[in-house]
Structures are given as C-alpha cells and as structure tokens.
Subunit: 281 residues, 2 copies
C-alpha cells in the first residue's frame, strides 16, 4: 500500500469498521489497493476502467472470498447508474438498440490529455453530445452512430507565453483515441477568463434505448439522463447507498465481490420494505 | 376463480409450470385470483392499485409463504420501472425532490370514466404533461406542483346522436378526482375521425429528481422517461424479465412475495454475470 491518497471510513459499529469507501484512481491505485484492503474489510469503490473490469472483478472476488468480506466494485454513475440502466433497458425492451451520449460536461481523462500537450498552461475539455443525433435517437430513430456522430469535443486552453497556438491546436486535434475520432474545437482564452468560467466540473449524459414490441413492431423508447453541476460530488452521493447495501448484505451472510447488477434496489434505500411498498411502489 | 380472463403460461420445465403471468385487472380479479393462484404456482402480475399495494403484498406474501412459491407483484412500468427509478433516485440523491409527469398518452381509467358519461358513444382521454412546468423541472427547478400544474387532460369524444354536447362537456369537467382537479379540454369528433386517429394506445411519462450535493449545494438532476407507441405491449415486455427472475430466485431457494425493489438487475437479464460485467458494467 504505497500511495493511499483518499480513504473514507463510512461507518463503524462498536468501534468495528463496517465498510471502507475507496476513492482512489483506477489506473494504478485500485488494482493493487483494492484486493489488499478487500481481503480485510468490506469495501465500495468507483473503479472505472471498463476494459479491465472482468479482471478487477476476479481479483476482488478472490480477495473477498478468501477474506470472508464483501466488496461492491465500480459504483458511481458510469460505471454505476448508467450500467444499471443498460441492463434494465435491454431486459425490458429485448428487441432494440442502446445508445449513449456523454455530456455536456468536463471529461477528466481528456482534460488531462490536453494539459499534457507542450505549451498548454491550463486546459479543460468539454464533451458535448451532437444535438442533432441525440434528438433523433430520443425520438425513436434507430441509428448506428460513430463516435464522431455522437460526441463533439471542445477544448478551452490557456497557452504558455510564446507558445505556438497553431501547433497546440494541431497536436490536440490529431491525438489518437482521445481526439482524432471526433470533431474537436480548440479555443484559447486568457487565464483570468479560464479561472472565472472554466473551473467547475459539470457533467452528465444520456442512455437511450429505442426498440420494438409486438407483431406490428410498435416503437418504444426508454431514456435515462443526468445533468450534474458537480461530477465528483454526485459520484460520491451515488456511491454512498452501496455502503448501506454492502453492510446489509454482509450482515445477511453474503460474501464476495458484487457489482451494481447484484444489488436489489431495496437494499440501497434507507426506507423499510413496508415503507417502500406503501410510498414508492 | 370465477372470472379468469387472461392467463399466459410462460414456461414449463419437463411439463411442470415454472411461472404464471397473471394479466387480469387490479380492481376485482387480482385481489381474489392472485393469492389463490400464488398458493399453487409462482406468479408475476401487474397489479396497479397504488392505494391497496400494502394489503395486496401482504395477501400475496401469505399465500406464497404457505404454498412454498414465489410471486413478483406490481411489475410493468408504473408500478414497475417508474417505482425502481423512484427508489434509485431517492437513494442516489438523498437531498432532493422527485416529480412525475405522465403522458403524452391514453389513460385507460380516465377513458373509461369518460365513456361512462351519458350521451358518450366513443371516448378517449389523453394525459398530457404541462410542458412549461415539465421543462422547469427538467432544468433543475425545485417545484411543488399541484395536479393541475403537472397534467392537462384532453378528452376526444364521439357523442350519441341528439346528445347535448354542452352537458357532456360540463359533466366531464366537473367529475371529482378524475377531471375536476385538472384543466380539461373536451373535443367532439365524428366516428370516422375517431376510429382513424384515436384508436392507438400511446403512453409514457417522466420521473425527475432534482436535488443537491455538497456543502455548496450543487444542483443535480436525474431523469427517466418513456415514450411508448403501445402501452399494453410495452407493459408485457417489461413484465417478462420478472418471470425469468422469479424462476431463478425460486430455483435458488427463495420463497414469498417480491416486488421490483427486491430483484437485482442481473436476475432480469438473459446474459450471464460475466457477460454483464464485461459488456455492460
């Protein structure tokens, strides 16, 4: 455990730790710290490396099974709430197509990529849905969209004094994976404006499934969306109920690694089952 | 079991019935048929009388517990998918307000009420969200709306020959509970136009939670919506995954009455757990 930057202890019972909330990064922190801590404590994390998810789940499942603990991995909103909607939407509307649009909002990964470019003093990257195609999908059109047709990337940059803005713009626009597959707009602003107008962390997005029911193929659309003023705070808010669920499942004898797919809605709520049935069903 | 109008047998294993889908009405059919059938078979239903939900759950829980069966009550979209979103939204965004808007679409209950009015030959009632207030809520305003501020009711009527349209309109608009609390528009059309343009069953609606995170009270909005061309077909489509879940839970030793709150997303999906983690988390 070399680099334990953040850890929140959520709740203790008689001095015993119930659940740890692991708030570290997915690139290098969680792959080592996650299994180590999960072998000793029940944990919740917001691991978000989609490509490595199966491996992380396997490592966490091994650690929790050996340790007799329970961990919920990959909570937050994507993975997390968006993942739940992907599964529910596919299940409720079997014959259909799911599309996602991200934004409008700040992408941390893309902002970091922009800030790594030579001559960039400050920078932020806004991911913006391509409105025309978002509206088509919302209205039930079945489209197979490329990344470029779904998202626009808007970079706002403060250049170092004397830096060549043309070179910065070209370097960003041609960056493979991050910007090359998209239409990218690069704007330069002065530092004062950047601090004033580009320091917040909005985000959001859409999960939309368009599909068909019945022999006449009736078009049906399901949509979930988020508009977040502050991405990190909302992510924390969406992680918290999984700590409640983890404690309940652990107390009920359940062990091992869990995902948001394995947790019934009632376990997330502070309300009793009879309150839920009466008030919210 | 006097009046068994519809029943679908979903699936049998070696000639044994796995799950019954009960597709009868909530007013008189399910309160008697539900517990009777649930004492013998695992069942799924779309019971939708919100005011009697706790009593129905108790009756179904008693029947299934005695019978050693498992039943999922109140599936569909409301109750059902909307209920899940109410619980998830409250859990993920604890400090907030949830609003619902229904429509645009045909309300069966209100259409039946209209058709019961003297002089009405054919009639349909469209529930329409009050667009101005829907947009405010979608944009994060915290509003405590009355029924009149949320929904508009639009009735399309074919009058019997010689009927007094003024009396029909007045009778509808003054009907307590159904129309009196709302702004209601009553339009009269001829039978040909009615059959041509008012015979389909669209519906839909919105669940929107606006709330706050963090010490600075950052505004955050979560929204779920449905746009359905054919309400009954979509309801059936949304019930089906609960039959899958019921069979899995029963095979796993679970018994008793369940709601959509008690069922983890993974149980609804035809995909394996490892497919879900890899593809949809």
């Amino acid at each position: 455990m070399q680099k334990l930057t953040y850890m929140i202890i959520l709740q203790t019972t008689n001095g015993k730790i119930d659940v740890l909330m692991l708030c570290n990064g997915s690139a290098t922190d969680l792959p080592s710290q996650g299994p180590e801590l999960a072998s000793m404590f029940c944990t919740i994390d917001s691991y978000d490396n989609h490509g490595e998810m199966s491996n992380y789940f396997a490592a966490m499942n091994e650690a929790t099974t050996k340790g007799g603990t329970l961990s919920v991995i990959a909570t937050g909103w994507d993975p997390g709430i968006f993942s739940i909607n992907r599964v529910l939407f596919e299940s409720f509307l079997a014959d259909g197509t799911t599309n996602f649009f991200y934004g409008p909002g700040v992408s941390q990964g893309h902002s970091e990529a922009v800030r790594a470019v030579d001559g960039v003093k400050k920078g932020v990257q806004y991911t913006i849905p391509v409105d025309e195609n978002l509206q088509k999908v919302q209205n039930g059109e079945i489209l197979d969209l490329t990344p470029r047709e779904k998202q626009l990337r808007h970079c706002v940059i403060v250049a170092e004094e004397g830096a060549d803005k043309g070179v910065i713009e070209k370097t960003i626009k041609e960056m493979p994976n991050y910007f090359e597959p998209y239409n990218t707009i690069v704007d330069f602003v002065d530092e004062e404006e950047f601090i004033k107008n580009h320091s917040s962390m909005p985000h959001g997005g859409f999960v939309i499934r368009t599909g068909f029911t019945g022999a006449e193929r009736n078009p049906e659309t399901m949509e979930f969306s988020l508009k977040l003023a502050k991405n990190p705070e909302f992510t924390a808010s969406a992680m918290l109920p999984y700590a409640r669920a983890a404690k309940r499942m652990y107390d009920n004898g359940d062990r091992g690694a869990k995902t948001v797919f394995d947790i019934a809605p009632a376990l997330l709520s502070p309300k009793s089952h009879s309150e839920l049935v009466k008030e919210l069903l």
